[in-house]
Amino acid sequence: MLYKDKRPLIVFIVPSLIILGIFLYYPFIQNIINSFYEISGLAALGGGKYIGIENYKRMFADPGIHQSLKNTLYMMFFAVFFQVGIALVLALMVDSITRGAQFFRTVFFFPVVISATAIGLMFNLFYSYNGGLFNQILLKLGLERVLWLSDELAIYMVSLPVIWQYVGFYFVIILTGLNGIPQDIFEYALLDGVTGVKKTWYISLPLIWDVIKVCLILAITGSLKVFDLPWVVAPNGAPKGLTHFLGTYMYFKTFISQSVGYGAAISVLIVVLGLVVSFTVNKVFKRDTIVY
């Protein structure tokens, strides 16, 4: 009876819907429409010229997009194996100790809180050829200095801070999952003589499988959205566009080259890839959820 009268709904829901409608759903759809037009110049109002799927065809011939797609796939690979991988190892380790666990939690998580821009600046200081942290260490060790952002190394060096920053994020998620496993399961396991690596492999991992799956999906779709860090460490895909990711390339095409329609098509590609990847990971890693 309290919620029989539906009139207050107008006050409760309509404001949110207006904001979302104007600044999220409309732009999203307009952007898809834009991807079928040739629009030169951001400020050019009006639709531009309808060109059908030309923008999408253009992607096949554009080496820039191949490079950024390749880099994005690299980033996904790094994210799965290093971000989630390292996080999993660290979480299992912290879960097995009692002293200092809280300290490690605090210290591992804090890069997540810092803005990617600041971390990018920090890594610029590390990579600098003259007097950067890495080269100073090499000099101390009596080695030659290295040009860290060279053509061959740049993509790894740009990925490194992204990976490093978010390990703590997945670490906390996995650790929370591990803490959720009821202790008596381990006690039974101990009675059966299951300890150490076996315990981890046969009991802990299957029980947190869902959590790991969530981490993988977040890490992979997160790789599609990287922008801030690469942009600060290697602006505009430096050197020679070799470190462009889909996000930075989209920015470059839209706001610097001013091919707005083509940029829109790239952003549609990002959305589609995100959907495809999430569904695939869900399918590939589908297992029966263990209820405990």
């Binding site: 829901i13 104007i22 200092g100 890069p111 610029n124 200081l125 003259n130 490093w164």
Partner: protein
């Protein structure tokens, strides 16, 4: 003592030995990772107190005689104070707007039954998949038409929109678990829906609102993409946009860069140390839903 018990003893000693060894390895690995996060930051902070020429040759020594030149330059020449203010105006307003609208909507979504409710929920959940890249151009054009380019509102409104869905979903998760009895009792006492919302739901939901506020604030404060696109005048730059520009202009002045990073990171770090539990919860809320 028979044979089997001796073997047992041996076994125990062996396991003890391996546990000690594995403990050592575990702590060693954990400390290495902790070193990468703590020392890197320490290196930056430490060097921000040195002269830029000293850093180039000797960056590992402790800044025994700290100098504040870099900070003076940062505040006077780069006007970091102004950027701070801009950041707080933008992120603070975004947080308030997100909390108000998401609170109202989440409450209605968990209490009322109406047609299209499920469709609405799917729309909220679906919009979490929209990356900023896929909405930025139409948003920029609208902001341009509204004459809000380089105006804080030009960033605040789109940022509110992009955090709203997530906030609604987090709050719905919390509010749907609140018992209805309290509200019914209040209704019997003559409260209307709005009294109930402001006097009962809001106070009980404080922890969920804290999560939403923290998430939204950090997201907005750390966002570079949208701010870069919409804010085009230097005096309107928030922290991140300014940092980005510093790195391209003064990239070789290590002292200045180090002090800029320190100025930006330190407040966040201090807040993090105090509100750690809430912040961790806020940032991982999306992942461990349910």
């Amino acid at each position: 003592m028979n044979k089997s018990s001796i073997a047992f003893e041996k076994q125990i000693r062996k396991t003890r030995f391996t546990t000690v060894i594995s403990k050592i390895i575990i702590y060693f690995v954990l400390c290495i990772w902790a070193f990468t996060t703590v020392y890197t930051l320490f290196w930056v902070v430490n060097n921000s107190f040195k002269d830029k020429t000293v850093i180039l040759t000797d960056s590992f020594s402790l800044a025994v005689k700290p100098i504040l030149d870099n900070y003076e330059t940062a505040f006077n020449k780069l006007n970091i104070g102004r950027a701070y203010l801009n950041s707080f105006i933008i992120s603070g307003s975004t947080v308030v707007l997100v909390m108000v609208f998401s609170g109202l909507t989440a409450y209605a979504m968990t209490r009322y039954t109406f047609r299209l409710k499920n469709t609405l929920y799917l729309m909220f959940a679906g919009s979490l998949l929209f990356p900023a890249f896929s909405t930025i151009v139409p948003i920029f054009r609208m902001v341009l038409q509204l004459n809000l380019v380089s105006h804080p509102l030009g960033v605040i409104i789109p940022q509110t929109a992009s955090n709203l869905s997530f906030a609604i979903i987090v709050l719905m998760g919390f509010m749907s678990n609140l018992p209805l009895e309290l509200e019914e009792a209040a209704f019997m006492e003559g409260c209307n829906v709005f009294d109930i919302f402001f006097r009962i739901i809001l106070p009980i939901s404080k922890p969920a609102f804290a999560t939403v506020a923290i998430f939204t604030f950090l997201w907005s404060y750390n966002d570079l993409f949208m701010q870069m696109v919409i804010l085009r005048k230097r005096e309107t730059y928030p922290i991140c946009t300014l940092l980005n520009e510093i790195s391209s202009q003064f990239g070789t002045d290590f002292g200045l860069m180090a002090s800029a990073v320190t100025i930006v990171v330190l407040p966040v770090l201090i807040v993090y140390l105090f509100l750690q539990k809430n912040i961790v919860k806020g940032l991982t809320a999306g992942a461990i839903k349910g």
